[in-house]
Amino acid sequence: MSGAADLNRNRAVDWALMVYILLAYAFVFAPIAASFVFSFNSDRFPSLPLGEFSLEWYRAVANDPLVWQGARNTLLVGVAVGVISTVLGFGAAYTDYRYRFAGKQVYLALALLPPTIPVVILGLAMLAYLSRINLSGNALSVIISHVVVCAPFAMAIIRLRLSQMDPALEPAAWNLGASEWAAMRHVIIPFCAPAILGALFITMAVSFDEFAVAWFVSGLNETLPVKVLGFLQGQVSPRINAIGTFVFILSMKLVILAQLLLSGRSARVPEKE
């Protein structure tokens, strides 16, 4: 901040804005924190004052074989979705980076639009369509629908990385004797490696949390978020807090890992002269 800006500051307004920022974050984190706190609380109907510290809900979750099955499915689906989304997203990001062609706008629209369609509609359309082609009701259908929503995120993350690349790098590799495939392997992929891993983790995390589409699409093989929705629909139980906290910690690990990769030393663009 320059001196001139300091001169023009008004302390009261600055304080009010700081307090406002704190309130905004309090609003955002209140439900997350409450979910965490009450997952260790013994009360059946959580509220203040807090009951005793208890691992009861974790025990209840751990003893429910359906939850374990759901957790296994969540992980399986998450990993598959992460890998497929990243591979597809990488291809599209590279296409956008490298080529110009007629109909590119349409291509990009198809690639990027799915996340803007409300999940209710997407879920309805997919369940109707997938059951029509006999693909509904299994883990495969969940993977298919998650990839539709997750691949655009992977594409955006990798495209951002490609835009940080010196545009001369790939032609330089060709010029030194690398065929297009060799340049892909020895230049483009190494350069994008942090973003590729970042996209992998982020799409996995998104898949863990994506539940509404799965709710419509999945039949018997429920993923964890579907299970959560089941709890809500039926009898509300603080078990949801235990599951939520567990999924949150898993997701955050992936996100922080991705964050480290995307901003770490290896990802840094070499400084210009």
Partner: protein, 359 residues
């Protein structure tokens, strides 16, 4: 085509959609020469270099390398390594791996790769940085890595696309002599694209000046400097005074009837045509009184003065508003009154003027 021709451009045209980047290029590059292609942004010089490298395909015409047409040869099948303006060093590889890259792509074995890379690392005096990351190097060191990376395949020709533009002035001059010596010692043909007159003229054996996708002049730096062939070249170099008018007979000789007066011509022009002559600013002289003898003199007023090192440039203006520059050593100007507005005479010998083509 002669035996010492390495590259020839034959009627090469490059269009991007409706835009013509290069129109009808016909010229040759000799074996072992240092050729500079010079022009301002958008003149087609970089496109020309990229076509030679195989990064763009010519729309029309043929490019030959050592006699063989190479139009359809992808860049990875040509031995035309390039040094990029941004250098384009691979940031995820260290110095040694960067230098070994081309050999690896050609399937050279590990030990052989290391040996040949070592040779060029030492030759470019960067062996001590071999294990460093690119981001840890200075600008000059990166330049050397880029050169080593391209030269490691021992090519017949090296392409350079404004490689010095990112360096500061002092380092630029040092690298110019590094490049010139390297070229002389290795005998590799250098094709050097630049917009900088000082770079082109101080290093190149021959200079190609391009404008709007066409060649304006090819020649040694001396030739181009002394006798710019077209008005564009004279303007571009900015070191000549230009006068345009109609050629008339005057007794036994010829005269140019120009806005600043009648100027005697040494010959070469045809009466009745319009013509432009150029006079180098170093061949234009100043005096207080109108000079005697068979010279052209124009009355002018001083409008400014500029000093660079041992020389000074005096800017003058004729009564008609045309600017004239005169470049001299300080001692040659010591006796002249040079206050702003001071009336003087600018003069030159008719044989020091050259006719140029319009355009």
């Amino acid at each position: 085509m002669t035996r010492d021709t390495l590259v020839s451009f034959e009627g090469v045209v490059k269009r991007f959609g409706a835009f013509v980047a290069v129109q009808k290029l016909d010229f040759e590059i000799k074996k072992g020469e240092f050729l500079a292609i010079m022009g301002s942004s958008g003149c087609g010089k970089t496109t020309t270099l990229r076509m030679l490298a195989g990064l763009e395909a010519p729309t029309e015409g043929v490019i030959r390398l050592a006699g063989k047409p190479i139009n359809d040869l992808p860049t990875w099948c040509r031995d035309t390594p390039m040094v990029w303006q941004s250098l384009a060093l691979f940031p995820f590889l260290n110095v040694r791996e960067n230098v070994e890259f081309a050999l690896k792509m050609r399937g050279v074995g590990k030990a052989e790769r290391r040996r040949r890379a070592e040779h060029w690392l030492e030759r470019m005096q960067i062996a001590e940085f071999a294990e460093r990351n690119i981001s840890q190097l200075s600008g000059g060191q990166r330049q050397r890595v880029a050169l080593a990376r391209s030269l490691v395949v021992e090519p017949e020709i090296l392409l350079l696309d404004e490689p010095l533009s990112a360096l500061d002035a002092a380092l630029k001059v040092r690298m110019q002599s590094v490049l010139k010596n390297l070229q002389r010692e290795t005998g590799i043909t250098f094709v050097y694209v630049t917009h900088s007159q000082s770079e082109a003229f101080s290093m190149a054996d021959r200079v190609v000046i391009m404008s709007r996708g066409k060649i304006e002049q090819i020649g040694t730096p001396q030739e181009i400097y002394r006798t710019p062939r077209t008005r564009f070249v004279a303007d571009f170099l900015g070191s000549s005074n230009l006068f345009t008018g109609t050629v008339r007979k005057a007794g036994a000789g010829l005269e140019l009837d120009s806005p600043v007066g009648r100027l005697r011509l040494a010959g070469g022009a045809e009466a009745g045509t319009s013509a432009t002559i150029t006079v180098l600013d170093t061949k234009t002289h100043l005096s207080v009184a109108p000079p005697a003898g068979n010279v052209n003199a124009v009355p002018v007023r001083v409008i400014g003065e500029e000093f660079v090192g041992a020389t000074a440039t005096v800017y003058l203006e004729t009564a008609q508003g045309q600017e004239i520059r005169v470049q001299k050593g300080h001692d040659e100007l010591a006796d002249l009154p040079l206050g702003i507005g001071q009336p003087l005479f600018a003069w030159w010998m008719p044989e020091d003027a050259h006719l140029v083509a319009e355009g």
